[in-house]
Every structure is written in structure tokens, then in C-alpha cells.
Symmetry: C2
Subunit: 364 residues, 2 copies
């Protein structure tokens, strides 16, 4: 018997490979009225990247490579087109067994509400399973009216160029802006980079951004978040409204964490005396219990040190508490990397602490 | 510059392709002391399948094909081995952009507690991204002691043979049994089949099984849940402790739903006067609002009809309510198929209603 493929059987699983509509005008997101968030000097930098090439190379081979991954990238604009298409040329495609291509190499689309600043997921630009160097896809609205749009970039892939397609006669204008001019800066591991969210909108930073209206930069580097001096210097140099230290998982051992964790805190704090500083211990706490106790001690020591210095703007999130609940063992795909359920709880924990941080800051 | 691959950069993403330990004894799960749940006549049927071949072929080409997918399959046993390996030969591999291979083609492992009947996720047997016709993988415990194990079969792949490997001198015995001899029978669509859970343990039926201790049969058929007469007859013929009607999504239109939905109810009820009958309307309610209102009316009409007949053991779950909450737009990967966050909420809704159903039944 001929084996039917799934997209022959189930139209909901059918993935069209190209946009066949002919009345589409394509625009480069590096040009106005588009604004790209979360990517470094995006108007001039090809391919898109998360930090300067020279700095990334000075940190490690891993960061040099992963800086091309567009985790945290977002483009915003407005249009009254009833169709929005993307044409992405890509230089790296993250192909892994435990993250779907929609998350590693896909873009997804949210509709932003100018009245409230909130965003609502609409559709995923579905990449084909045999993706090689980019793809083209479209989403369609049931009506033509002015909408504010955010399109999220892939978490584990590199992008050379992103074109946005709208109907030939549609308007294209500026998108919504974030609430604050400086972003939250996240530094960390593969989990921070977004592994293994099913689509970019469900990485924890994107959830936090939607709930708070705050911009962010995702500096999670899979396996390569080791707080090297060059990375610490770079992080301290960034503009930020808050800093999240989330690299426990990539410190090779508790001693490495001890050698770097408080050093990172001091460097950020020296450059940014007033921003909330959040630190989180690893969330897959059960995986190596004894070692994780030692790691948590290091992070608590940094936290205590900061408090003893009189820092009232430092916050500790216990990673072991993030998944606590009836589904706590359902929050990862492999015992380490959160799935979308884990990322929703991750965002809950961060939002609660950020809310406390910004409220506390208001009293300082 | 040479592009580093992700598993070169991040050891956490490294997927070993074969089990290299030499002190492993392999056993076929079709033989005692293993017990396989959720698959049809598994001792004699090769490949594994969810229903008889002849019946599946009588229903539709889609069901004939998808009956080979092992969604809902589980094998249980006990062992004191500190290593558990699988060697799976597979005849179909579901490769889709919006479900990771861990979910479509992977097995995952839970440790069952004989004292409470509860289960806890331990690890995923990670399939390689370039999987062709099966794979071999191992998980390792930190100690050697007697453990009760459940290994879940893939959701969107076919399995010819599954061997379980344990240390040569380890014990291998019977696994835990489910609480009731008859399973819950689920009938439905791709969502019912488990698309797009990140691993088999996170499909909603598996969550329900862990929370209730009840066995189940997953008869979700991607795109092919259309309640044909041959399928209705087959469903009615099954042993069951409860029935879940969840095929709204695959009925081609509201009229098709009307032609079949109450018919399915009547057939199941005629064969099983006493089992709880749960019906759920589609969960991605916003995707086609007007049509979905019409679909919901059909389901409500079946529900009302049943109540009017004096049936006190029928339950209606409003699909539009399942994802309600702060993350309701974060529950799918593509606007239709739940991610693990959506499936956790799906399980919440079903468990609440099943609890009501079994409590009500106790009063009947």
C-alpha cells in the first residue's frame, strides 16, 4: 500500500512552500517604516545578529556562531493589508529533534493593540520541513483594516534578509513602540535562547515583553553562556532597564559559577547602579541534585553579597520553584529544556519578580 | 568561518545515535513480563497498530494509514537496572515543521510509584534528527534499585518492533497496572492524536491517565476523524469505562457534524448504557468564529437530546473555554494544534469533568 503523507491526509498539516498571490509588494524590514527590536545595529548589519561580530569572536567560538541566531528579534509595523507575507533568506537552520522548526527556524505573528499595548498571537509563518536557506509564507486576515503587527524572528536560525509582503495597495506604517526606551537584557544558556519553545512568541522573554510592554535583548547562547570577561564587559556596556542573569546552566561547574557570578553582578551594577538585577538558579533542579545545591549556594551568595552592600534592587528567583505544581514534570521536553508549558511558568516567575522590582524601584 | 553545529557548541543538544554499552540484554515488549497498553492485539500484530487493519481500511484511506501511528501506546514493566535502553524499528516517521521529532517519533520514560499509582517523567529517548527507520537510545538512573516504568510510544510514527534493554544481570518484572480494566476511549482529530505535543507523555490523554490512574485508547486520526459508520460501529464495540467524543475539528462542515454527532452518541450509548460520555467542541474557537458557533450548536443539540432522554451521564465541555486565561493565545503552535501548555489545560478540563462524571456515576 502506498503510504500517504500526513499533509495528504490532514489539510491542517499542509504546509505551502511559496506565496502564489501576485498582488504583493515586498519591503525590506531594515528600512522605515519598519522597526526591528532585539538585534544589533540591524539597519547596517548583514546577516542579522545579536551582538557585534568582533565582540562575539572575542568571547568564544560558540558565541561567535550563536550570535547569528536571531533569538529575541522582532519587527513591528502597521498595515491595512488582509494578507501579510514573509520572504526570509536564511544562513543557518537549527535542526534538532526536540524543538520544532516553527520554533528554531520559524517566524510567528502577533496583532498589537494600540489602545492597551497588549499583543495577541495570530498565526505562524509555517516553514517547510525540508527548509534549506529560507522560506516564504503568508498569513491571511478575514478583513482589511488597520492592524499593528509584531513578527518574531526564529530562535535557532540565522537570517540574512527579511522582506514583508503586503497587498499592493495596502498602507504600511510604523508599528507600536515599547513602553520604555531601554530594554531588559537577558544573559544565559540555551534555555534563555529559547530552547525548546514551539514558536518564537512562546520563549519566556517574549511572554514577559507582551505582559509588561518592555523591550528586551536575548543574549542566551546555547551551551556558551559562561560569563567570560569579554562578555561581562559587553553586557555592562549595554543600555538596559533591568538585567536578568540566567546562565547557571552553562557554567561548567559550581566553581566556574563562583568565579564569574558575582563578578558579573559587580560589573553590571557598576555600570547601572539603578536597574533591577534579577538572578535565577537552574530550573531543572532534580537533574543533578547535589551539584545543583552547590550552584544555588553560589547564586545565593551573590544575592546576599549584594544585599549586604545595601543593594535593594536585586532579586533572586529560585529555579527549583518555577515548575512547582501538578504538572511540574511536564514542563520540559527532555528534562532540561522547557516546552511551552515550562516557558509560561518561567514567564510567571519573572513577571512577578519584575513587578516587585519596578514597584520597589518606585519607592527607592 | 566554519559553521559549528549546535551539538558541537552545546553538549545538552548532543544526540547520541546508538547505545554503546555492551552489557545489555534486549527483550521484546510483545512478550511477558512486559504489558503494552493502548495498542490493538499487540502480541500478535506486526507492526503495532491502534485498530484492526480490516476495520481501519473500511473506514477511510486516512484511518487505514494512521492506524499504524502508535499514539496512546505504552509499555509497562519493572526493573532494577540503572540503564534502560530502547531499540525501535519503525515503519513511518512523522516529519512535520510544527511538532518536534521527540513528539512525533520519540519515546519518553516515566517512573511509576506503586504506592500511589502516580507517575513522574524521567527522560526522553532522544531520536536523531536524521531518523530513517527507527533508533536506539538509553536513559540512565543515578542508582540501581527496583523501579516501575512506563515508556510511551510515538504519536505520529509507526513501530514494527520495540526492544527494551537492561543491564545483563538486572531483574525485569511486571509493571504497574491501571486502576480499572476498561480504558477511556478517545475519538477525534489530529489534536486527539497528540499534535503537537513535544513528547508523547504530554498528549492530553497521557496527562489524564497519570492523574486518574485509568488506562485509555487514543483513536485520534489526523484529519480523518469523520465518524463514518464503520468507525462508529467499531467504537461502540470496544470495552470502555468512559467515552470522549472530540472530532469536531475533522467534520468537514457543521452539516457533516450534524449528520454524525448524535448518531455516534446513540451508538455508544446503546452499547454502553452506563459509561460517562464526554463531548467537547473545538478548542481553536476563534479561527472560524461563525462556523464554530454552528458547530457548537450541533454538539449542544446532542447534549440536550441526551439529557432530554434522561441521560444523566453525559458531559459537555465547551472547547472555547479550555484555553481561557492570561496565556490563552499561547496554547497552540499554529492557531490550531495545542502545544504542551495547551495540552495541560486540555487535561485540566477533561479531568475536572471526568471527576464530576465518576462522582455522579457513583450516585446514579
Amino acid at each position: 500500500m502506498k503510504q500517504l503523507s500526513l499533509d495528504e491526509i490532514d489539510a491542517n498539516f499542509h504546509v505551502p512552500k511559496t506565496v502564489t498571490d501576485t498582488d504583493i509588494t515586498w519591503r525590506d524590514v531594515r528600512q522605515a517604516p519598519f522597526a526591528v527590536y532585539g538585534l544589533y545595529d540591524y539597519k547596517k548589519t548583514v546577516p542579522f545578529r545579536r551582538m557585534p561580530e568582533e565582540t562575539a569572536s572575542a568571547v568564544s567560538a560558540g558565541v561567535a556562531e550563536l550570535a547569528y541566531n536571531t533569538a529575541g528579534g522582532r519587527v513591528r509595523f502597521s498595515t491595512d493589508s488582509d494578507l501579510i507575507a514573509i520572504h526570509a533568506t536564511m544562513n543557518r537552520i537549527g535542526k534538532m529533534p526536540h524543538i520544532p522548526l516553527t520554533g528554531s527556524a520559524g517566524f510567528d505573528l502577533y496583532v498589537d493593540d494600540p489602545a492597551t499595548g497588549t499583543s495577541r498571537y495570530f498565526r505562524t509563518f509555517m516553514p517547510p520541513f525540508d527548509i534549506v536557506d529560507g522560506y516564504e509564507a503568508a498569513v491571511r486576515f478575514p478583513s482589511r483594516k488597520l492592524r499593528y503587527i509584531t513578527v518574531n524572528f526564529p530562535l535557532y536560525a540565522g537570517v540574512d534578509t527579511l522582506l514583508i509582503g503586503t497587498r499592493d495597495h495596502a498602507t504600511v506604517g510604523e508599528g507600536l513602540r515599547y513602553r520604555d526606551s531601554a530594554p531588559i537584557v537577558y544573559y544565559g544558556s540555551s534555555i534563555t535562547q529559547g530552547g525548546c519553545a514551539s514558536r518564537p512568541g512562546n520563549c519566556y522573554q517574549n511572554i514577559v515583553a507582551r505582559r509588561t510592554g518592555l523591550d528586551y535583548v536575548n543574549l542566551g547562547f546555547s551551551g556558551s553562556g559562561k560569563a567570560e570577561d569579554a562578555m561581562i564587559d559587553y553586557l555592562a556596556s549595554l543600555k538596559m532597564c533591568a538585567f536578568v542573569s540566567d546562565y547557571d546552566h552553562n557554567a561548567p561547574n559550581p566553581q566556574h559559577l563562583r568565579n564569574t557570578h558575582c563578578k558579573l553582578y559587580k560589573a553590571i551594577r557598576a555600570a547601572h547602579p539603578d536597574v533591577p538585577y534579577l538572578m535565577i538558579s537552574r530550573i531543572d533542579f532534580d537533574s543533578a541534585y547535589t551539584e545543583n545545591l552547590a550552584r544555588r549556594d553560589v547564586i545565593l551568595d551573590t544575592y546576599r553579597y549584594a544585599r549586604e552592600q545595601g543593594d535593594r534592587n536585586v532579586y533572586y528567583i529560585d529555579g527549583a520553584s518555577v515548575f512547582r505544581g501538578p504538572d511540574e514534570d511536564g514542563c520540559t521536553v527532555d528534562g532540561t529544556h522547557p516546552n511551552d508549558h515550562g516557558f509560561a511558568l518561567y514567564a510567571d516567575a519573572l513577571c512577578a519578580e519584575l513587578k516587585r522590582a519596578f514597584t520597589e524601584s518606585a519607592f527607592l
